[in-house]
C-alpha cells in the first residue's frame, strides 16, 4: 500500500456507484457531518455521480463554519494586542468576524502566524519569552487532543507565556439537535471517522436508536465516502437503523482511550454557540478551572465580547440541512465568495461557496 490513490480508485468507485444505484429505490437524504468529507465529495464530484434520488446534505462539521462570530471577534481582539503572537491553523485567517479578519489584523501590525500543530505554538512561546503566545484551538473532538497536549506540554516545560483560545465543539449534540428539530430532513448520517477514532463509536448507538436513523462511521477518501453512502442506503432500504463502522482501518469501537483520559482531565463539557445555529446545550468543551492560566479567554478578559450575526445569513439552516444554499435570499446577491456573510461561503468546500461556483457554471452553460 502506498496510501496515495488506492482509496480513490476509479474502477472500484464505479462498482460502488453501481451498487448504490441498484439498491436505492426511494429518495434518501444523507448528511455527511464532517467538512473533510464535504471536501472529498465536492473535489471528486461524488454528489453528481450518485443517483438523482440519493441526496447529500452538507452538515455542520466544518470547524471554520461553526466557530461562532463572537469567538472570531475575541480572537481578533487578542491578536491585535501588543506583545501577543497569535497562532492559528491557516483556514481561520480569512473567516470574517464582525468588522475584520485575521489577515487584516496582521496587515495592521498584529503578529499572526500560521502553524501546523499547536505544539509549534508552544515552541514559539518558549523561543519568545517576552511575548504571550496564543493558539486558536478550534475544531471538533479530532483536534482537541492535540490542543490538550499543547497545554500539557507547556505545563510540563514550565512555559507560562502560552495559552489557548478554546472553541471546541462536539458532534453527537449537533446530530441530536438536527434530529430533534421539527424541520428534520435527514434520513441517515455519515459520522466523521476521525472524531470516532478519538471518541469511539458507542455514543452513536443511542442516537441511532432514539431517532431510528442509520449512522455509518465513514472515512475521508472517495471510496470511504461511497462505501458509507452504500451502507446507509442498504440500511434505509432494509428498514434498519444501527451504527456501522465503515472505517475500521482507523476506528475502534472504544476509540483512543489515552486521548480520552487526557481530554477528560483537561476539559469539561459546556454549552457552546454554533455559528448560525445558536447555542446547543452541552455541545462543547472548555478548559477546567485548574488550567485557567492557559485559557486565553480568561487571561485576556475577552469573554464579554459578543456579536450579532448578519440577519440576512441563513448559514445555520444550510448547515443543518433545512435549506439548500440557493434558497437563502442573500445567496449570490449580498453574499458571494468575495463578500461572504457567513462562513460556508468562505472556503471553496463550504456548502454555499460550492453551490455558488456551480451556479455560475449552470447559468453560463444555459446562455
Amino acid at each position: 500500500m502506498r496510501f496515495v490513490d488506492e482509496f480513490s480508485d476509479p474502477g472500484l468507485a464505479a462498482n460502488l456507484l453501481r451498487t448504490i444505484e441498484d439498491i436505492a429505490t426511494q429518495p434518501w437524504r444523507i448528511m455527511e457531518v464532517c467538512g473533510g468529507q464535504t471536501h472529498t465529495i465536492i473535489s471528486n464530484g461524488i454528489d453528481q455521480l450518485l443517483p438523482a434520488h440519493v441526496t447529500l446534505v452538507h452538515g455542520p462539521g466544518c470547524p471554520v463554519c461553526v466557530t461562532p462570530l463572537e469567538m472570531i471577534d475575541r480572537a481578533l481582539a487578542i491578536a491585535a494586542m501588543t506583545d501577543v503572537i497569535f497562532c492559528s491553523f491557516g483556514d481561520m485567517l480569512r473567516v470574517p468576524g464582525t468588522n475584520s479578519d485575521l489577515y487584516k489584523v496582521r496587515a495592521g501590525g498584529g503578529d499572526v502566524r500560521v502553524v501546523y500543530s499547536p505544539l509549534d505554538a508552544v515552541t514559539i512561546a518558549e523561543q519568545n519569552p517576552d511575548n504571550h503566545v496564543v493558539f486558536f484551538g478550534v475544531g471538533f473532538e479530532t483536534t482537541a487532543p492535540a490542543n490538550a497536549m499543547a497545554v500539557r506540554a507547556a505545563q510540563q516545560r514550565g512555559i507560562k507565556n502560552f495559552s489557548v483560545l478554546i472553541s471546541h465543539v462536539l458532534v453527537p449534540p449537533a446530530i441530536e439537535a438536527i434530529m430533534s428539530a421539527p424541520e428534520r430532513r435527514v434520513d441517515a448520517f455519515l459520522a466523521a471517522g476521525h472524531v470516532c477514532a478519538v471518541m469511539g463509536t458507542t455514543t452513536y448507538q443511542a442516537l441511532a436508536d432514539t431517532h431510528q436513523i442509520p449512522i455509518v462511521v465513514t472515512g475521508f477518501e472517495a471510496l470511504d465516502v461511497l462505501d458509507g453512502i452504500r451502507r446507509c442506503v442498504r440500511q434505509l432500504e432494509g428498514g434498519r437503523f444501527t451504527v456501522e463502522n465503515a472505517y475500521s482501518r482507523v476506528v475502534q469501537s472504544d476509540g483512543n482511550t489515552i486521548a480520552q483520559d487526557l481530554l477528560h482531565d483537561m476539559f469539561e463539557v459546556t454549552d457552546r454557540p454554533w455559528r448560525g445555529i445558536g447555542t446547543i446545550p452541552s455541545s462543547g468543551w472548555r478548559l477546567r478551572e485548574e488550567y485557567a492560566s492557559f485559557d486565553a479567554e480568561r487571561r485576556f478578559g475577552v469573554g464579554h465580547i459578543t456579536a450579532e450575526e448578519s440577519p440576512l445569513c441563513r448559514a445555520g439552516e444550510v448547515l443543518q440541512g433545512f435549506i439548500k444554499p440557493t434558497e437563502c435570499e442573500a445567496f449570490g446577491t449580498t453574499c458571494t465568495p468575495r463578500t461572504p456573510l457567513g462562513a460556508p461561503m468562505v472556503s471553496t468546500e463550504g456548502a454555499c461557496a460550492a453551490y455558488h461556483h456551480r451556479g455560475t457554471v449552470a447559468q453560463d452553460a444555459a446562455r
Binding site: 476509479p10 479530532t142 463578500t339
Partner: protein
C-alpha cells in the same frame, strides 16, 4: 490619503484598507490590485498594458519582450534551487511566455544588514550559473542595504528583455475553442520543496523544485513550425491560477481531465498531508501551452526531447461555453469548477 470611494471597482478592495499577505499570493486579490488600483492610478501611460507574463513593445521593426519580477522566497536555499537561480529563470521564463529569445537581465538587490557575505556570494554564483545555462546576459544592476529587521536577508528584482522572432504572436486572446491544453511537466514540486524546507517537514523523500529556464523548450516548439496560440508560466497559484487567468483573459472556457494532469506521488502525498491542492501549488519551471489539436503531437514530441519538459502531457481543451471558467473532470468521472485561490492557499484544519 486614498479616496476609497473613487476607486473604479471598490467592492473587493474596500474590504481591505491595508495590503494583506493574501494580495501577494498570486490569486484573485492580486489581480484586483492590478486592475482596480494600479492601472486606474497609472492612467494613460498604462493604456494598452497587457496582463501577460511579458509586455510586447515594438520600437522599430523588431518586436521586443519586456518584463520584471521580484523574488522574496524563504528559505533562500531549498531542495533543487535557490533564490538566485529562481530570479534568473523566473524572468527568463516570463520572456519565453511571449515566445521571446531572452537577451539580457538587470539585477537589483535589497540586502538586509547582517546578511552573511558567504550567503550572498553563493546566491550570486548561482545567478551566474543560471544565466549561463539560460544563455542570457546579466548586464546591469543595483544594490541597496536596509536596516537589520527590515528585510528577509535578500530580495532580488530582475528585469529582462528579449527578442520575439518574426511571425510569432502568443497571447491569451488567441485561445480558440478546440485548442489542446498542454502542461510541460509535473506540477506542484517547487511549492512543496520550499514549504517542506521552511517548515522542517520530512516526507521521507526529497521533493526538488522544478526551477528551470523554459526559453529553449519554447523555442523548440516554435521550431516545429507550430503556431503557438497561448503560453503561461505556472508560478504562484499553480496550474489553476494560470488556467483561470487564461480563461478570463481569453474569454474562453477550459476543460481539463484531472486524471491526465501529472502530479508526482510525493507531491500528492505531501499535499494531502498538508491539506493543499497540488493544482494550486507553485511551480518555477513548468508552463501550459494552447495549440491547435493538429499541432499537439509534434509539440509533445519536441517537449519530450528536452529534460525540463520530459513529462509534458495534453490535459484538456479550450471550449466556447462557460467563458472564464475552468472545469475539471474528476478522476471518478464527476465534474467540479476549478477556481483559483483568493489569495495564498490556506491549509485546512481537517
Amino acid at each position: 490619503m486614498t479616496d476609497l470611494a473613487a476607486w473604479t471597482c471598490p467592492l473587493p478592495l474596500r474590504d481591505y484598507p491595508c495590503v494583506t499577505i493574501a494580495h501577494g499570493g498570486g490569486g484573485q486579490l492580486g489581480a484586483d490590485l492590478v486592475n482596480h488600483l494600479f492601472l486606474p492610478a497609472f492612467g494613460a501611460p498604462a493604456a494598452g498594458a497587457e496582463l501577460t507574463d511579458a509586455a510586447v513593445i515594438e520600437p522599430g521593426n523588431e518586436k521586443l519582450a519586456f518584463t520584471t519580477d521580484s523574488y522574496v522566497v524563504q528559505p533562500l536555499f531549498f531542495p533543487g534551487s535557490d533564490i538566485g537561480a529562481m530570479s534568473v529563470n523566473g524572468t527568463v521564463n516570463d520572456l519565453a511566455m511571449v515566445g521571446a529569445v531572452p537577451l539580457a537581465l538587470s539585477t537589483a538587490f535589497v540586502l538586509e544588514e547582517g546578511l552573511e557575505m558567504a550567503t550572498l556570494h553563493a546566491i550570486a554564483l548561482s545567478m551566474g550559473r543560471a544565466a549561463a545555462n539560460a544563455g542570457v546576459r546579466l548586464v546591469t544592476g543595483d544594490t541597496k542595504v536596509v536596516d537589520a529587521g527590515h528585510g528577509d536577508g535578500v530580495y532580488i528584482t530582475t528585469t529582462g528583455i528579449g527578442v520575439i522572432p518574426p511571425g510569432v504572436t502568443i497571447s491569451p486572446d488567441r485561445a480558440g475553442a478546440g485548442d489542446h491544453v498542454i502542461v510541460s511537466g509535473p506540477v506542484g514540486q517547487h511549492g512543496i520543496a520550499v514549504l517542506s524546507k521552511r517548515e522542517g517537514l520530512d516526507f521521507g523523500t526529497t521533493i526538488e523544485s522544478d526551477c528551470a529556464p523554459l526559453a529553449d523548450a519554447v523555442a523548440s516548439i516554435i521550431a516545429t513550425g507550430t503556431d503557438v496560440h497561448v503560453l503561461r508560466d505556472l508560478t504562484r497559484g499553480g496550474l489553476l491560477a494560470g488556467l483561470c487567468e487564461l480563461a478570463e483573459a481569453g474569454s474562453v472556457g477550459v476543460k481539463v481531465d484531472e486524471s491526465l494532469i501529472p502530479v508526482p506521488d510525493a507531491v500528492m502525498a505531501a499535499c494531502r498531508f498538508l491539506g493543499l491542492d497540488p493544482l494550486s501549488v507553485a511551480n518555477e519551471g513548468t508552463f501550459v501551452a494552447f495549440v491547435a489539436p493538429a499541432d499537439s503531437d509534434r509539440v509533445l514530441e519536441a517537449l519530450h526531447a528536452r529534460p525540463e519538459s520530459r513529462g509534458a502531457a495534453v490535459i484538456g481543451e479550450v471550449v466556447s461555453d462557460h467563458q472564464g471558467i475552468v472545469i475539471g473532470r474528476t478522476k471518478l468521472g464527476g465534474t467540479r469548477v476549478l477556481s483559483r485561490p483568493l489569495g495564498e492557499q490556506l491549509p485546512r484544519i481537517c
